[in-house]
Symmetry: C2
Subunit: 565 residues, 2 copies
């Protein structure tokens, strides 16, 4: 019954140089995951060839995208199909680089394992370099050669610590030059960029740049983000979303049973997801909370903070009448970014605080517009102070630091107190706040994410081997058994639109927001009234790697696939 | 691959009356746990008899305990042993009540299942009543008859929602009278009290009272608390500790990999456990954090808040020199209760705030003793305000509301800033705070807690059937396979000492604190210097119910058993 642990010594450099699994100690579950077999889609297990589809366009403003990507625009999607002739791609040995870009997501290590194994299986003698610390590693040519021994301890493990990540971008002509120098120095045939919407946009710019300058290095992107907001028809989901949502849902389910057992707390749970509310929606579908706030809906119907507060308060009152003085409420991290009046207030505050002295008497407040002044007064004192005091180096209010869940608790408390005095509420209200974020970004990837990531990486290897560039690795048909998954690449330019910034058009991969007409939101919307009043809590329990539910995929993906079918 | 769910309709009353699993929806993992087989110790599977040991004493002040429990003091421990004659206990049908008392702990439902199954197996035709909402349910005679259908949906499930819990105590003569009336009304042969140290003390008082008044109702206690501070030689662990620590350790492990991957955050994790630091110690043994603060040690060596801050800051500096600007730090919820100077400050503040006006100029501060004034000034402003503003209905400072982890982050920041200016620190420091508490109290119990609780409940049934009272259900030899576990009961009076309160002796079961000479602390102490500087993080991963690590028991128990052996 004792816990055994194993020590790996994967790296060769000093600990400070290798922040990874150098002499790491592994738990039994971690160890067992190391040898978890990763099934490949059939098409990757047998000889395959690549078939191109028809010319692609862009997600919006194709003319502008065409101008920004003269060498890449219009590339057809590539699809891997079984081939009679043995041996896919060329016989050439490849030199490939890989980089992790942006925030952590469970499964990143498996993308790298997938690339590595492709090279081992199909382009023997190839070399894989891991750029350290994100895109900065490309610019500074900081890398490690990834060997079988180096990679092994990271297989099916969470985190990005194999080569770490970073948030730098390759943007300026000088930075592109540095990337080029690295590509030439290492004689790179290809580069795989594992990242979110920004990083994949960057990957495409890099691909365009290399091609424009006749640098041979091809670039392939991989869709990563726990936020789930990088997806399209060809890329049904970003990796990490499945695992992160299941970890959060385990916690939410536990808190729900606690709420029901104790009978006296309202748990306000803030979940990661600043731009889009996919995580919150998915966790709601997994656990059935009493109240769920979806940022996209708040924005669409132009709700004010008062509206949101009233909605929560109304449900609390109704539940109070039924004898329920407890509940669970999910809130997306980015909620206040979705509320137009809050954005307005913050913009005005940034302006005022940059130029004026904040006087004790509060005369400065007169400079706020009427609506903003009202909103400011409506906010709890602690939040007012936070808005005034905590500013970033540019003097801007730090919206990210506002603990939305605590703010809402205070606002609901105030509103309930009012109703109590009016005699319309007789219940008891005690709020408990939670923020689930860092707990979910580096968990051991689920079987789904493990397999999906491995296929994404393997596919990226195949695409590079076939001479493709400017594509994002695309694995589809995810509702079917792994054997039947489809594998290919989608033109990154096809995912793009432009945004006007500083008078120039900038290419962007539009974030996929929660669609109010999409199947996941509609399912949620059809059930939330029942969830509000009746307690339909589900506790998904901890992620299992063997046995029941171990191969389940998340509700969002399942519903979206169902709606497509 | 789809997620299936099952609806149970266990209760018969309305939802408001049955806050439990009435028409609950279950996840696949929850459903799979329902039919998880529960092995029993061999002695419970075959005919057994009860053998009494020798007369017991008390944990302290036996003379006073003898006076307080004239009818029960000195009871021998009872041990179940195999018997040749079939049929244990009498042929009598029993009427038994059960109550959950205090905070939730994973496994409570299995104790009830164990009692129920014992009665089904060995005293057919018996009745089990569940008192609703804790001890108040006994006093108000609020109960539900527990049937096979009612209990089934709760088997191996987390939470206390089958009958809910409560924090009331049966203390006054009137309350004892009410309990007596319920016992008579329901014609109870026995009552099982599932609770922590206070609740088991209460159980013993109830047993004494019933016997003193010739009420036939016998009382048996069961050791419950995630805090792990109710244990002794005969009761090696309280249930729920194993599951809760594993849930927290899953989260800590994830945060560790995140810390290492990101390389720029110090995560300060506060863990439940107000009185004792067992949870923090166990989580440290499971995950190997860089810094762990154990309250009992802080108290033993009389550390000040400044000492604790300096200790953390020193490690941060050393790590900075090695290039590590990240780390994970565990802090017990009750930390500041362990610091003598803080207790002194709070006592003085309570006094001052009760009588004096707090003037803006801060003259009131002059009333603090010198040391307290210094400490107050040392505290971050937000904490000063919290101490001044947030008081309970009695006007007392609410220590529980102080977010110790945030306080420490601010104090370490200040100290590092100082060292930076002195030129002795050149690193970067960013703190992230976490509190893991409610997430762990109601998770699906581990295989260990599921089995242990079932045995505790089954044993409680056996003890009542054999006419025992005033004992706590005791299951031992937990390091061995379940078949070899020992089963019996220990006199609750043997666990007791007295405390003098309001001039009277009060019986108390002393909380088991972290022993600085005990095997778990010694193991931790022998490794913490290495953990501080080298990164020996272990990520235990999510609790598994099948396969690797699914039958592991926690380090604390394992080490304590090892030290005994």
């Amino acid at each position: 019954m004792s816990s055994s642990s194993v020590i790996y010594n994967g790296g060769k450099s000093s600990p400070a140089e290798t922040p990874g699994r150098f002499a790491s100690v592994y738990s039994e579950v971690q160890t067992s995951r190391l040898n978890h077999p990763l099934p490949l889609p059939s098409v990757l297990k047998n000889p395959f060839k690549i078939v191109d589809g028809s010319r692609s366009s862009a997600a919006g403003n194709p003319d502008e995208i065409a101008k920004l990507f003269p060498n890449l625009f219009g590339q057809p999607p590539a699809m891997l199909v079984p081939s009679d002739s043995a041996g896919s791609g060329s016989d050439q040995k490849l030199k490939i680089g890989v980089v992790l870009s942006g925030g952590q997501a469970p499964g990143g290590h498996n993308v790298i394992s997938g690339i590595f194994d492709y090279l081992q299986d199909c382009a023997k003698g190839s070399t894989l370099y891991g750029f350290r610390g994100g895109p900065a590693g490309i610019m500074k040519c900081k890398y490690v050669e990834l060997t079988s021994e180096f990679i092994y301890p990271y297989r099916n493990q969470g985190g990005f610590d194999m080569i770490c990540s970073g948030r730098d971008k390759i943007e300026t002509p000088e930075q592109f030059k540095q990337a080029e120098e690295t590509a030439l120095k290492l004689d790179l045939d290809g580069l795989v960029v594992i990242g979110g919407d920004d990083s994949n946009t960057n990957a495409c710019l890099l691909a365009e740049n290399f091609r424009g300058k006749n640098v041979k290095t091809h670039v392939i992107g991989c869709p990563k983000t726990i936020d789930g907001d990088l997806k399209c028809k060809e890329v049904p989901t970003s990796f990490g979303f499945d695992t992160a949502c299941k970890i959060y849902s385990e916690m939410i389910g536990n808190v729900m049973i606690d709420a029901r057992s104790t009978g006296k707390y309202y748990h306000f749970v803030r979940l990661m997801g600043r731009a889009a509310s996919h995580i919150t929606l998915e966790c709601a579908l997994q656990t059935h909370p009493n109240i769920t706030i979806i940022g996209e809906e708040v924005a669409a119907v132009k709700q004010t903070l008062k509206n949101v507060t009233d909605y929560i308060t109304d449900v609390v009152c109704k539940r109070g009448e039924l004898g329920y003085n407890y509940g669970v409420i999910l809130i997306p991290e980015g909620l206040i970014d979705f509320i137009p009046e809050v954005q307005q207030l913050i913009a005005e505050l940034n302006e005022i605080l940059a130029h004026d002295v904040v006087d004790e008497a509060g005369l400065w407040k007169k400079k706020l517009r009427n609506q903003s002044q009202q909103l400011f007064d409506f906010l709890p004192q602690a939040i007012q102070e936070q808005l005034m005091l905590e500013r970033d180096p540019h003097g801007n209010v730090q919206v990210a630091k506002i603990e939305t869940e605590k703010m809402l608790i205070q606002m609901v408390e105030t509103e309930l107190e009012k109703r109590k005095q009016e005699g319309t509420y007789k219940g008891q209200f005690k709020g408990q706040s939670h923020f689930f974020g860092y707990e979910g970004r580096c968990g051991l990837p689920t079987n789904f994410d493990s397999t999906y990531c491995y296929a994404l990486g393997y596919a990226a290897g195949a695409l590079l081997h076939s001479g493709k560039t400017g594509l994002i690795s695309s694995v589809g048909n995810l509702g079917a058994p792994v054997e039947e998954w489809t594998v290919g690449g989608t033109a990154l330019t096809a995912l793009m639109d432009v945004e006007r910034r500083h008078g120039k058009f900038k290419p962007v991969i539009k974030k996929a927001m929660v669609e109010l007409e999409g199947a996941p939101f509609r399912k949620f919307a059809s059930m939330r009234e029942e969830w509000a009043i009746k307690n339909r809590y589900i506790s998904p329990g901890p992620i299992q790697f063997i046995g029941p539910a171990s191969n389940d995929i998340n509700h969002t993906l399942l519903l979206e696939l169902g709606a497509q079918a």
